[in-house]
Symmetry: C2
Subunit: 407 residues, 2 copies
């Protein structure tokens, strides 16, 4: 048997249209392994009421992705892989697949995210660089999103350990979560920075090789940033900026939120100051961050292999001993209608849905994974669901957007 085969099957399942993070875990539970799940998928999608044919990527497409990733020195981790980071595995919507460049084991270190404005002030960038350097010197990995401004300053600060023109490149570990494929650094002028991060840290994405970053990829990148970190520091975020979305995800994942104060005269500080108002930890230096970090996580037993369900805190839909639910239970049509009636084209948190439905949380999660498979809902990073866009919208290719990163 091809040693790649379990990886290929998992990757194929994860890359199948309508299979989101929650559905992926549920399918593995229901059918025992990825091959069985793939075999059952078309009938299950039809049974769930899917109108169009389900697109499962052909095996050669998956083999090309695996070979291409290896060719650039990268590696694909599926949920359950020993190197898959525990912080992410513990999330109820853990990404099924991560593509990484660099030492994947470093994804498991104690990490803190630093995010903020792309049009950062020079003071904000200095703050990010210095905070990253001093935290990295304390053995904390710095996670960010490779964007211009605060992100790049944070990566550089960690890499250079606070000596930007010194020779000690690799002084600290930094992790870049990116929106596109590993071979598509964005923005393009950060290609060299991404290379340096891959050599001295890790670059990670959920997006397949060869795919340029598109607007819909950024929430997934932000989820990786929040999920990989014990805490998230926001420096210079305007109101309604993408950094605040990452901050919300961090809070939803139970991470500690930190914010650096700034002058009210600078619109770039309005969002971060507002986080302070809402209870974020006021952060002036690395001590403010270190004082709030939870103790180092205890080493956990590794999962047996890629096909076993991930170890760690069981997510709500994966309670130990819960019988698999291979088919929608009778009467589930009512539940699906009830759920659909509560959804709209703006994301609804799954928690809200559970509160507003008379059904149990596990029944709702099961119904949602069926609805996603049927193409009737989309699940979003951070635990929200949304109705798929109207046809006029879906017809517009994302890559026509001038600037995909509309944070």
């Amino acid at each position: 048997m091809n040693p790649r085969r379990p990886l290929a099957a998992h990757l194929r399942l994860a890359r199948t249209e309508g299979v989101g993070p929650v559905g992926y875990r549920k399918l593995l539970l229901d059918y025992g392994d990825a091959e069985a799940a793939l075999a059952a998928l078309p009938a299950r999608a039809r049974a769930a009421g899917r109108a169009s044919r389900l697109r499962i990527p052909p095996p050669d497409e998956i083999e090309r992705e695996i070979a291409g990733t290896a060719a650039i020195g990268g590696r694909i981790l599926v949920l359950g892989d020993p190197d898959y980071p525990a912080m992410l595995a513990d999330l109820h919507d853990a990404p099924p697949v991560l593509s990484v460049l660099g030492d994947a084991a470093r994804l498991g270190g104690r990490a803190v995210a630093i995010v903020g404005a792309r049009n950062a002030s020079s003071g904000g960038a200095r703050m990010a660089e210095s905070l990253a350097a001093t935290l990295a010197a304390h053995g904390v990995s710095i996670v960010s999103g490779l964007a211009r401004g605060i992100d790049a300053a944070a990566h550089r600060g960690a890499l250079h350990g606070g000596a930007p023109h010194g020779g000690n490149l690799g002084a600290g570990v930094t992790i870049a979560a990116i929106a596109g494929g590993l071979d598509r650094p964005y923005p393009p002028e950060h290609a060299e920075l991404q290379n340096a991060i891959a050599r001295h840290g890790v670059v990670v994405t959920e997006t397949p090789l060869g795919i340029a970053p598109q607007q819909g990829h950024f929430p997934r990148r932000n989820r990786l940033i929040a999920g990989l970190s014990l805490g998230c520091v926001v420096i210079e975020a305007a109101l309604r900026s993408g950094s605040l979305i990452t901050a919300d995800m961090a809070v939803n994942y139970g991470r500690t939120l930190f914010a650096v104060p700034g002058s009210p005269l600078d619109p770039r500080c309005r969002g971060s100051n507002d986080l302070l108002r809402r209870g974020a930890v006021l952060t002036e230096n690395e001590q403010d961050v270190l004082a709030e970090l939870p103790p180092a996580p205890v080493a956990r037993p590794q999962a047996a292999g890629p096909s076993s369900p991930p170890a760690g805190r069981p997510a709500q839909e994966m309670k130990a001993g819960e019988a698999p639910l291979p088919r929608p239970p009778s009467g589930s049509g009512d539940m699906r209608d009830a759920i659909l009636s509560l959804l709209s084209f703006t994301p609804t948190p799954v928690d809200d849905l559970v509160r507003r439905c008379q059904f149990s949380a596990s029944a709702i999660l099961t119904a949602l994974s069926e609805l996603e498979l049927a193409g009737d809902v989309e699940t979003l990073p951070g635990g929200s669901v949304v109705l798929p866009s109207a046809p006029t919208d879906t017809g517009r290719p994302w890559n026509e957007m001038r600037n995909p990163e509309t944070e």
Copy 2:
């Protein structure tokens, strides 16, 4: 009878060495009026164990202060005067005497203090000016200390209503609490600003006419700023700066504390950011302040005249129905020794003293006013007591200090 006579007697009592704010109220309670208290003082000081002769200012010195204040258009308010501001009268250590220039009735309006660094950044000064202007436009008087930097910007913002070069001088009310006498504006280059404030607001001090500001006057000025205001906004205060002392006084007086966030890279923002960390209200604009102000105070019945005890919330040492204690009770020597043993050359809050003594609070306050009269302790604004400085220190004249305002 000279209509000035009750004023003169109160002023003479207040200007007597060893009579602090708490002792002043107690003497009036014990002896019924200021004349009787003055007559009894020398014997009482001797009985309290005072070694040197008590200096009571001669009547002509007091008359000169009253006439001189009137000559520059000023006025002296004693505690209990109908125009004496209720916010100050309610303090347990209310200043016995205020010298004012301008419309004294304006001391009673809804007011907010704005204080901060003398070496303010241009952004900090702009923030102070804009916040003062917008608050003043909402009918809130702006209290500050006439210092360089944030103080002056706050006064100017209120005066000009946010149009610094416009013709609408007097758009809002501002109150300058100053450290020296009314005829000694400090710093000297703010003489014109003080004149403008006197015309369109109020200038207020506890210091007699003709006395240049000395280091020991600044805590009293800071107490006026905190006491006259419903809340205190701190903009750009370094760690251990005088603005933080004003902020502490404001908190001790039950005022709401506000702080404007600033970049951690600017040492001028360390103290104000620290206030945010300790719970001050994060302030970006006037709405943040207005939302936290208590409702407008209810009008209170005016006190009958200057010799009656001040109306309002009775202070701890002035409980209604408590019998006057004209002489130290027998056995009070033990109490005085116990109190002295707990004091040092660094200020001790009276509340701490009460907690650490086995005597009642009212007995301790009585003993403290005797100790002050005896010259054995000094009471400080904000409710602390301290042993008088050692002779080598008291010998150094304050006015030799190069910059008296060592905030």
